[in-house]
Amino acid sequence: MEEDRVRFICKRTVVSTKSVEQGQLYRFSVFDHVMEPNHIRLVYYFRSSKTREPGEITKKLRESLAYTLNCYPIITGRLVKDIDGMDEKDDLNRQWKVKSNDGGMRMVEARATGTVEEWLRSVNREEELKLVHWEDMYHLPYYWSTFYVQVTEFDSGGLAIGLSCSHLLADSVCAMMFFRAWADLTLTRNMMAPPLFHSLPPRRFANHGMISNNQLLSHYIKSCALNAPPSNLTEDSIVTVTLLFPDPMVRAGESEPGLSTFEILAGLFWVCVSRAKGKTNEFVDMSLCVDVRKLLRLDQSYFGNCMVYHKVQYSKPFKTKDSLLLSHAAQDIHNATKRLDYDTVMDLIEWLSSNSNPISNGSDLVCTNLEDMGNSRPMMFEKDLILSHVSCYVEGPVAGGGQVIVLPSPSCEEPTSRVVMISLPRREMVKVVEDELLLSFSPVLLMDYTKQKNV
């Protein structure tokens, strides 16, 4: 039984450096409301080549965070449940809003033993979550901070910064953009991509009927119902494994051109997880989570939820050899994604404005595409702090029965290399990591699940 490697130092609130104009209210978009019960936790690891005084970098980060928050009044505000419109009795209209009251965000400081490299070699999900502080909503939401940052300095060098936030305010894309803006401001005193706060595109006026076979919409109609199927994870605990795929495109071999790395990896896991669940004639239900900012013609700096979940159907035969199965799966994923266009998503947005239930992905496998979040310009807070690894967790009903999150790989040279975080029930995970098709991609195990306790 190892002793706790992470020592909590203190918790405080960081406020913006300029005082905020009081009384402003920010409304959420329909995408935000639908994601309410979930939260995101990100951990960024930085290697360092020089030694520092303990606490020095934390102080610097705290100050630069205060300057960064000047551009994010929505983060420093607090949630209020306000009555929208005149009708007080209609409960449907009581929705969350953010009141910009200058409350600030919480920051936790901690220290960890060893170096970042040592930590990464032997960490598991439970320990990693100790690096990112999160508090569930208090019974008085007005005093509850929606964003948390934890800065953990490693005694022998290196830094881990954890960011957690309520999914109501942000999705993984804009949480990562916030992080990048903070890093830019710390390093260069300039924010390259300040956030944009505005509403989603407005209703279309032309006489559009709903697109008849809008699968995206039907998926949401089913998943947002109050009696949506709950995830049936009963006795089995969720374990998480992180794998690095050095060159998935090469390994995929003779697949059709035009497929993205995400599609190939999603197809791969579709096949493996289905086999692990014991299904031989069909695939498990899978939803893909993709960022639709580009589709809706919004800038990547748009702050707010803008990722949708859409189900994929397998349409080709099953009884083929593995590589062909993978290729078909990836192709179907590709086609499903191609069917998403502006009108499809707008239909969804328009339908959501009359729906107030959050989405639940039941026990589906959820594959999230964050592979475009890497950037040619490296992200760093100081010149000697080099990003070595990023972890991402999404928790809540939207996580379904298992998650596969595809992230860019910060440390690998190859542009198509990817880091994939897989969270599955333990029994399935055991089978997936030994699957032949998966092993044919020569993944490197970054985070193992075996040391995780059964809780």
Partner: protein, 492 residues
Amino acid sequence: MPDPSSSVKPKYVKLGYQFLVNHFLNLLLIPIIAKIAVELLRMGPEEILNHFNALHFDLLHVICSSFFIIFVSTVYFMSKPRTVYLVDYSCYKPPVTCRVPFATFMEHSRLILKDNPKSVEFQMRMLERSGLGEETCLPPAIHYIPPTPTMESARSEAQVVIFTAMDDLFKKTGLKPKDIDILVVNCSLFSPTPSLSAMIINKYKLRSNIRSFNLSGMGCSAGLISVDVARDLLQVHPNSNAVIVSTEIITPNYYQGKERAMLLPNCLFRMGSAAILLSNRRSDGWRAKYKLSHLVRTHKGAEDKSYNCVYQQEDNEGHVGINLNKDLMAIAGEALKSNITTIGPLVLPASEQLLFLSSLIGRKIFNPKWKPYIPDFKMAFEHFCIHAGGRAVIDELQKSLELSGEHVEASRMTLHRFGNTSSSSLWYELSYIEAKGRMKRGDRVWQIAFGSGFKCNSAVWKCNRTIKAPTEGAWSDCIDRYPVFIPEVVKL
């Protein structure tokens, strides 16, 4: 200053009366000079010369009279108290990252005192009516949930706050640390060993024969007490300068209990400090900003009520805090009356003193029910710096001294921007007046400070040279936003 309540005629009568009484001696001289001039003109030049020759000056007379004149003038100049010049001063501006908006303060309060919602409610009501703004600063140790006031963090707050102000002072005045002859530091609630003055001497490598003093426990009026100490020392030591550091260290004094009377200081006290350079050298006379005219100290500690009204004690749970009594305002008013009675004759023009005297005599002899005459201090001073102890203090003084909004603007705006910084608040207020470009040569400033004990101290400064705005200092980045309207209650 227009008198809105009276009509035109009485105003002119009053003005005429004031002119007559204040320039009485000058007016007396006019007929005398006129008579002499007439006589001289009547006599003609030869007669004047004859008169002059008839005086029989011989050498002895001349030497004796000139010796006598030299002797008298020497005695006069030697016994005159040395002028104490305020060369310059500097106020500490806390970093923006220490800012504490209302929402954050209330949230922390609620998280720390989660078992005492009534105390939290009380704090919220106090904060709403406090007159503070959203930019006041608390030291880093108090930002933690829960706060961690260790001795080390208190020392580090003291170092940051004092050294920054002193570095700024050295830069403004060109003073070299080894030239400091006298050092007086006042900080009421934090008194480590070695003292804060020793800390300064160590940091700046001051001389070994420096005369250093560390005043602690003397409350918010200690700033002027330090000035008094420095002034007295400067009378004894010729050609010297004195550096005064006024501050209050917040870290060890954050009350962590739930008694309501002790929670109020948490809402009001904020980080701040000031460093002041005084000198009695004649060579500093041309560049000094102010000259010290008067300094009056009044102590009401002999009365039990005054002694107990600001009392540091432990509450039922063992938390140490400062207990503020409910009749604090009344006691402050009494102390102020005492102080005014002493300072009035020193500063008020003769017209006001006569009126006050006649009103006093009238009340004693004729009719005790006559309203006491409140001397018009606006005639004695152009600027007022009232210790920004809280909104109630400023309101009370504005009412009793009949001051206008503009007179108390410096105090209110200092309370809004910096909070109650204890003994250094007077210097922030003076800095505000300078930053607004209102300080002209010859202007007189009245600084009034209240403190535990109960003490009321006043200092009167006369401006030595017009101070041009914009000034560098604590107000430089925000002076354009002031004055702000401060609502009665800020809804949180």
